[in-house]
């Protein structure tokens, strides 16, 4: 799978996320409290709401519509109404850029 240059590391605040659209798909890229980067599908598995408007708390992302939560490191659904896990994608940083493998 190709590595895609998604954004600059500085584009994402610590303990936050941004939306990244690529090739007709939408992703969420996270920066953890420990300055690690992660990537998941961009839409909540419950009702296809963009997670980018949600809240990152530690290692969880909370959907802005119904407060479903996921562990963005593993994609695991942690709180109803989400019952289906998010897909996750490899991430690496290089020269101040965030690259995702999708």
């Amino acid at each position: 799978m190709p590595w895609i240059d998604a954004c600059a590391t500085d584009d994402i605040e610590t303990e936050d996320l941004i939306r990244f659209d690529h090739d007709g798909r939408t992703f969420a890229i996270y920066r953890s409290p420990d300055d690690e980067f992660f990537c998941t599908d961009g839409l909540c598995t419950h009702e296809q709401v963009h997670l980018a408007d949600g809240l990152v708390m530690d290692y969880e992302i909370e959907c802005p519509k119904h407060n479903a939560t996921f562990d963005y490191r593993t994609g695991e659904a942690k709180r109803a109404p989400a019952c289906v896990n998010l897909n996750t994608y490899p991430v690496r940083t290089e020269g101040g850029r965030v690259l995702i493998e999708v």
Partner: protein, 359 residues
Amino acid sequence: MAHRDYSMLGADAKRAVETGLAAAEWYHTDIPRKQMKDLMRRDDGPAIRDTIILFGSMVALAGIGIALWPSIWSLPFWLAYGVLYGSAMDSRWHECSHGTAFKTRWMNDVIYQIASFCMVRNPHAWRWSHTRHHTDTIIVGRDPEIAIMRPPEFARLIANFFGLVDAWNGWIRMLYNATGRVHPEEASYIPEAEQHKVIRVARIWVVIYASVIALAFAMGSILPLMVIGLPRLYGAWHHVMTGLLQHGGLADNVIDHRLNSRTVYMNPISRFIYWNMNYHVEHHMFPMVPYHRLPELHEAVKHDLPLPNSSIAQAFAEMWPALRRQLKNEDFFLKRDLPATAKPYREDFHHAALGTAAE
């Protein structure tokens, strides 16, 4: 004039899906991400403080009520206890179902379970019904929490001030679920994997109620039921009063919360009981914002919202005549004016509903 079918399995439900009203993208006021993140931030402090006040008051009031029982002087203490049990628990149920009251998840979950029991709302069934209420707010056939259906049934609305319909339905449904069944309407919005939890909770509640009733028989007094069960009836009036104002008399089948929800300025005691849900347009637009930050959210978005009602009485004076007009004309509703600073309603988007607004 269209006749509305509020069944989750009826013609309007089907039509809402076919026309894209179901699970639609709703209007949101623009707020900078940085500000929104700050407003969404969780905090245990305010809810711990409020919970200590709430439960401390309940213990004190019920204790005095028991001490004075059966004197008439116990009555005011029961009435005050009842409002905390039968109304404040409604807002605790609501906020904790969103997971926004506390930062710590187990605290949300514990209060959610207690409040669900007090309000006779199965915590698993109602979690999913409220999820649907937020997806499809006041979309006929999709929203299972429409308090005032058209044409309004005034006898039902007034009976509910004493919990006579909702609590009764809750107890009937509890017994139904306790037999190991989930109602077909519930099954339309509760995932199959979650349905066993509905049954388990119903059975636990039946045991609790049976114990309280047995104690009442053993004592030859209704006193145990004055503490558990009956306050859901004699203390319901406040949450019904505030709850009816949330959407009553406003538009249905629209996808802009400014058209179907109402923000009302209220006195501090009602706001404590109601946990700031008087900022109801704001809550529906941004359900991630905890109750204790809603006044700040209101300040941030009020330029884009209809003018709030100035008091509970003023809001009822606006709503009640509209409900009476809906008796004769189901399509009648109040279309509230936006300030000049607001983005206009999407008339093209809501043409069918807005065509019959009040002038």
